[in-house]
Amino acid sequence: MSSGDYKALALSLALLLIAICLPWVVGDFTVTLAVNMAMFTVLATSWALFSGPTHYISLATAAFFGLGTYTMALGLDFLPYWVLIPLAGLFGALMAGIIGLATLRLSGVYFVIFTLGLAEMTRQIITFVQNATGQKGILISIWFEETTFYWMLVGLAALIFLLGWLIGRSRLGFALRIIGDDEEVARHSGINTSLSKVMLFMIPGAAAAMTGALIAPRYGYIEPLIAFTPMLSFQVVIMALLGGTGRLWGPLVGVIPFSILWEIISASFPNQTTLLLGLSFLLIVYLLPQGFVGLLLKIKAKLNNGGGS
């Protein structure tokens, strides 16, 4: 490891320590907000691990998240909570693998539409099954404090960061960067582009399913509209793009301000959330195409040039 790596590791550990200690120094409302932030950090960071280098915009987060919540809701009668979280991750990875094999040969636009349709289709199927059986939702009988959810999510986020860091230094990470730049060159350089994309797509699939499973008891009552809300997929994309996908820490930089903004929007304009979400999407793409990361790198480059002249 280089000295830069050690510095980054020390900074990451310091930030992790601050994140762990946060519930002891802030009030209940902030902890609730922090749970959402930690949840979106996991979702947006894992999303960017795949979509960042490949430029494939996945709107399947809600499908994986919903799969996780239902794994927890249906599985609690048979298995302990702690076993169901990795099991949900396994299901999420399998689902992502199957979707990936079927769709990642397609060009980007078809992939976007497919992933959006997948979440909706899964929701409709579960709604149909529940209506047919006369069941409306599933009650979850276990419950945790907000701080417990928060710490679990911070742990999962740390795991995702570690995984992202390892992938970034691996052949797979390098292959994905090449694919993102030019898939034709990647193929002719000897990279199995389909397999590489499928392997990496399984990570956001597993992470979103584990998040859904982990946080399911927070909802208490699971129904398709909660578990598979399409809004979640869009929020993840917006937060990741706002932060920027060019660096592992990029999405985190987007999650923090957007979660606060979203809290204000939801409280002040509860009936216009979708409209404001769409508007913020447009503004981010137009004003910050590379996110905060791109902006920071641009400022840094300007300062360096200025210093050199």
Partner: protein, 245 residues
């Protein structure tokens, strides 16, 4: 020539796009350490042939073998790993990466795969070979046209391919760059690399190619030693047209 081992062979290779036959029953062999020119007028099927060899396009009929192993049923990435490396008619850089990373792509995933320090050393060796060792950390956007071509060449060379396919690698260069380009390919030939060269620049063909295969309308119309082939009346007719020949 007869003692040299055949590295690449095409037998009855045909490519159809709907009703259009772009390559028709093409046969030829490439011997080890040979530079074979694949020439012909525009639209004669040369680049399509390179695309068929490299797996960018599937063959409609026929077989392509690399050292007696059929590769025409393999996807492009497996053909690359078996040892067929190619450049593109229009240079394809990896824009977000440095020159070194561009070349590293071939070192990590190509025919002879390397990682870590060994890959690093090999990449720097290739950058030295193409004269770009001082531009290792530059971005493709900062390079001249010929330098992007050099990077592409280093990327395909770094994996020690058995056959190198150069698709109009000298096209678009100014006279000085052309001289440099020809000298570089000559250096590769002297190193004993096996090269299939699709080219229009006659000076380059004359000075670089041991043999030539001439294509016209998807078919092979001549094959043999370069000077003999280039003076063949049928080849002259294919290039210049019936009236001018």
């Amino acid at each position: 020539m007869s003692e040299q081992r055949t590295v690449l062979s095409l037998r009855g290779v045909t490519k159809r796009f709907g009703g259009l036959v772009a390559v028709n029953q093409l046969d030829f062999d490439v011997a080890e350490h040979e530079v074979l020119g694949l020439i012909g007028p525009n639209g004669s099927g040369k680049s399509t042939t390179l695309n068929l060899i490299s797996g960018a396009l599937p063959v409609s009929e026929g077989e392509i073998a690399l050292r007696d192993q059929i590769i025409s049923d393999l996807p492009a990435q497996r053909i690359a790993r078996r040892g067929v490396a190619r450049t593109f008619q229009l240079v394809r850089m990896l824009p977000s990466m440095t020159v070194k990373e561009n070349v590293m792509a071939g070192a990590v995933f190509g025919h002879r795969r390397r990682w870590g320090r060994e890959a690093d050393r090999q990449v720097m060796r290739m950058l030295e070979l193409v004269g770009l060792e001082r531009r290792a950390n530059a971005r493709p956007s900062e390079l001249t046209y010929i330098d992007t071509k050099r990077v592409e060449l280093a990327r395909v060379l770094v994996g020690d391919p058995k056959v190198l396919l150069l698709d109009e690698w000298l096209a678009g260069l100014n006279p000085t760059e052309l001289e440099e380009g020809i000298a570089l390919v000559k250096q590769l030939r002297d190193e004993g690399r096996t090269i299939v060269l699709v080219e229009h620049v006659m000076d380059a063909i004359r000075s670089l190619c041991d043999r030539c295969v001439v294509m016209s309308s998807g078919q092979k119309i001549a094959e043999g030693v370069t000077e003999t082939v280039l003076s063949d009346p049928e080849v002259i007719k294919a290039y210049l047209g019936e009236d001018d020949a």
